[in-house]
């Protein structure tokens, strides 16, 4: 009998050094760039202090990519660019070239391969999204499908730069909202308390940890049908789904109760106003796979109200701050309800404690 092969020990190499993979002009001028402009949508020109120029062509991808798509992008990079690419935080791909004459052929190659060139400046960039039904263990919807549907609708706004400022849209498949803050955010909103499979709770869940996870202290241990389980005070429950990941028998999703809410005015940047959280516009939209038309319609209304009414450089939330929420609801045609009044910790500071009003 042979001794079992020793397993291989990992090399804890951590974050790879990017310099071997960085375009030579970026390496050469690392830390010495002077200014940039955008000769056309999807194209950036950066000029170094020594006068060097680097041209970047930016294209959208489907984010969840098959190796054939990746190899196609590599082929374009080798043939029409210089073999160096990078990705942005929003899953766009960037091709860097050292001369302007390579820009147009590269754009043509990308476009004909089905990769839209754009996403620069004041465009609607790719939607930042989460895993959804494709890979997540707690999803309420499928972000990839929502994103594909919305990007189809907003395709023109990706390849053009006609927005007042950049528009960053996010989606999330559950209320943990991994997608983060967005000018427009499309997030799952659960509308019913969890349905509990009492047969499984004690087997699967660490009950004290689940009790501790609830943000409103609505979960308490209970004996159900003679078995130790958990029960939910439905008067208190805010249907957030926080108990579901640590305790899958507390099913928060339901074909009828998992809904979509749309939020606006989130912002990560510090430009002009401080970073801000997105605010509720519409809840209770149907989780209507495969193309979520009701959600797309809401997003379209918001996007074009913004495009038509905001002043240059106002981000979504800044535009609304100026025109006021009454006018926003008027321009978009959505309802303002009691659910728009914040009731969470700190909500007092969201109240209008002034005579400032918009008519």
């Amino acid at each position: 009998m042979n001794a079992p092969a020793q397993p291989r020990r990992p090399i804890e190499s951590g974050v790879p050094d990017p310099f071997p993979f960085m375009h030579p002009l970026m390496k050469k001028n690392y830390g010495n760039w002077d200014w940039h402009d955008r000769p056309r949508p999807g194209v950036l020109r950066h000029v170094a202090r020594n006068g060097d120029e680097i041209w970047t062509v930016k294209a959208g991808t489907q984010r969840q990519m098959d190796v054939f798509s990746v190899r196609k992008l590599c082929e374009i990079a080798d043939t029409f660019a210089e073999g160096y690419v990078r990705f942005t935080t929003r899953s766009n791909i960037e091709f860097m070239v050292s001369t302007q004459d390579k820009v147009e052929p590269l754009i043509d190659a990308l476009t004909s391969a089905g990769f839209p060139v754009g996403g620069t400046g004041n465009s609607v960039s790719m939607i930042s999204h989460t895993q959804g039904w494709l890979h997540c263990d707690i999803p309420g919807t499928d972000a990839s499908g929502v994103v594909k549907s919305l990007m189809d609708m907003m395709y023109d706004e990706f390849i053009k730069e006609e927005m007042p400022n950049r528009v960053k849209i996010t989606t999330s498949c559950c209320q943990i909202n991994c997608g983060g803050q967005g000018d427009i955010s499309i997030n799952v909103q659960y509308t019913k308390p969890p349905k509990i499979n009492h047969d499984l709770v004690s087997k699967i869940c660490e009950r004290p940890a689940v009790v501790a996870r609830c943000p409103v202290a609505a979960i308490r241990p209970a004996m159900v049908n003679g078995k130790p389980s958990l029960e939910v005070d439905e008067q208190k429950c805010v249907c957030c789904g926080a108990c579901y990941p640590p305790c899958p028998p507390m099913q928060i999703n339901g074909a009828d109760s998992t809904k979509i809410a749309v939020w606006v005015g989130g912002k990560h940047s510090n430009a002009r106003s401080k970073p801000s959280f997105h605010k509720l516009v519409v809840a209770n939209l149907p989780n209507n796979a495969p193309r979520w038309p009701e959600v797309a319609e809401v997003v379209r209304k918001i996007l074009y109200a913004y495009k038509d009414n905001a002043k240059d450089w106002e981000r979504m939330g800044e535009w609304i701050e100026r025109i006021g929420w009454p006018r926003f609801f008027e321009l978009t045609g959505f309802a303002f309800t009691k659910h728009h009044l914040d009731t969470w910790t700190g909500s007092r500071k969201t109240m209008n404690m002034s005579a400032h009003v918009h008519f």
Partner: protein, 431 residues
């Protein structure tokens, strides 16, 4: 020594006040000098009381401690309006052992003739200490320093003059209104009428304290809020307007000529909180009235050029208060706009006030202000209770937290659309 001896001593000899004397130097009018004038008016009944009052105050300055305690003093038929003060050091300062305050409601807007002021002085010299404050933080004239025995007498005379006690304790309190219509071009409604109509509808709540805690109304003619209504009242009524501000472009140009372009841009245009102003290249003003929040800055700075619009009315904010017990609160915008011109509209204001007072009486905890009550139950429940529909002007922005159960969202949205449709019909019908 006995109390009688002390009284004689007090009458025969003035307390030394070396610490207070230091407050007689300097250019600002000295309240100490005034107190001494009263003490030294030896032919007047209040002189001994004011001597001991000065003695006790000097004692406070020495010990850095107050020596008054409360108690119960009232006039016949009323439960409040007198602030009782009994000295804890009456053995040393017997003549001022009782030093109560009568809170008297002033004419709305603090208007006085010299005749009225002199009549007040006459009464107060006869029955009180001769010390008056125009006015207390509560908005009352404070006639400070009255014995228990004289309280009723003083009140009777004031009352016969047409004056009434103000509020104290867990009751409707004395109100305030700004000068407004009487002398101010920013005034957007008749403050005197609003002030008197509302307060005089609820005098029972003022004179017979039976609320969970104090309840204050204040009336400001515009968002400059010169009587501090938003913070200092439970129910703040502020003037505002719904249409475009009025712009006299010639006066705007004159302002730019007088002050310079850069200065005008930096101190007017760039100070607009919602970027609703822009200066055209020909020095006329470009106003985006849809973005204007009626902050008053440009109107304040250019009073000849800019004026409130014609479609005037009031905003109502609820829940302002000082620290105790949840911390300071500013009032929250609850009624963004209501007209206040016809008698029916004033009646509607009174009815809304009545609804609020009733809600407060029934739902607030003991010693809880309406603002704290709103916080405790949450804005949605509060609005439902008082029958007001949610409005985006009530909040800086809609909720940022997803922690809410929204399964009735669609039904709530329906209510909104129905209400909007009704309002549109009314508008059409009204045109």
């Amino acid at each position: 020594m006995t109390s009688d001896d002390a009284l004689k001593t007090a009458q025969s000899q003035k307390h030394a006040t070396p610490l207070l004397d230091e407050l007689e130097t300097g250019p600002w009018p000295s309240f100490v000098t005034g107190l001494k004038r009263l003490r030294d008016a030896e032919d007047r009944p209040f002189a001994p009381m004011m001597n001991d009052l000065l003695g006790q105050l000097e004692h406070s300055y020495e010990e850095r401690k107050g020596f008054w305690k409360g108690g119960t003093v009232s006039v016949f038929g009323y439960g409040g309006g007198v602030i009782p003060r009994f000295s804890e050091v009456a053995d040393q300062f017997p003549a001022s052992k009782e030093f109560h305050t009568l809170r008297i409601q002033p004419p709305a807007g603090y208007h006085y003739t010299t005749e009225l002021l002199r009549q007040m002085c006459d009464v107060w010299e006869k029955h009180g200490s001769g010390l008056i404050a125009f006015h207390g933080q509560s908005g009352d004239i404070m006639f400070q320093g009255c014995s228990t025995e004289n309280t009723q007498k003083a009140f009777d005379e004031f009352n016969e003059m047409g004056l009434d006690l103000g509020g104290a304790g867990p009751a409707l309190r004395t109100s305030m209104s700004c000068v407004g219509h009487a002398r101010c071009e920013k005034s957007c409604y008749d403050e005197v009428k609003a002030h008197r109509t509302v307060i005089n509808s609820f005098l029972d709540e003022m004179h017979r304290p039976a609320l969970p805690y104090k309840f204050k109304f204040k009336f400001s003619g515009c968002p400059n809020d010169c009587v501090n209504a938003i913070h200092r009242s439970d129910f703040a009524v502020l003037g505002t307007w719904r249409d475009a501000m009025k712009v006299n472009q010639d006066e705007v140009k004159a302002y730019v000529v007088a002050h310079g372009r850069k200065y005008t841009i930096d101190s007017v245009i760039a100070m607009c909180p919602t970027r609703a102003l822009s200066l055209n290249d020909d020095d006329t003003l470009d106003v985006d009235n849809k973005s204007c929040v009626r902050c008053m800055h440009c109107l304040n700075v250019m009073p000849k050029a800019l004026h409130p619009g014609d479609d005037r009315g009031v905003s109502i904010l609820l829940g302002g208060k000082r620290s105790l017990k949840v911390g300071d609160l500013m009032g929250t915008m609850i009624i963004p706009f209501m007209k206040l011109e016809t008698d029916e509209e004033f009646d509607a204001l009174v009815e809304f006030a009545r609804k609020l007072i009733d809600f407060f009486a029934e739902n607030a905890l003991e010693h809880e202000r309406i603002g704290e009550c709103m916080d405790r139950i949450g804005l949605p429940a509060f609005l439902e209770a008082i029958g007001v529909a949610p409005d985006p002007n009530m909040v800086n922005h809609p909720r940022t937290s997803s922690y809410v159960r929204t399964d009735d969202f669609t039904a709530e949205a329906e209510k909104y659309f129905e209400r909007k449709a009704r309002e549109a019909d009314l508008t059409v019908a009204g045109d």
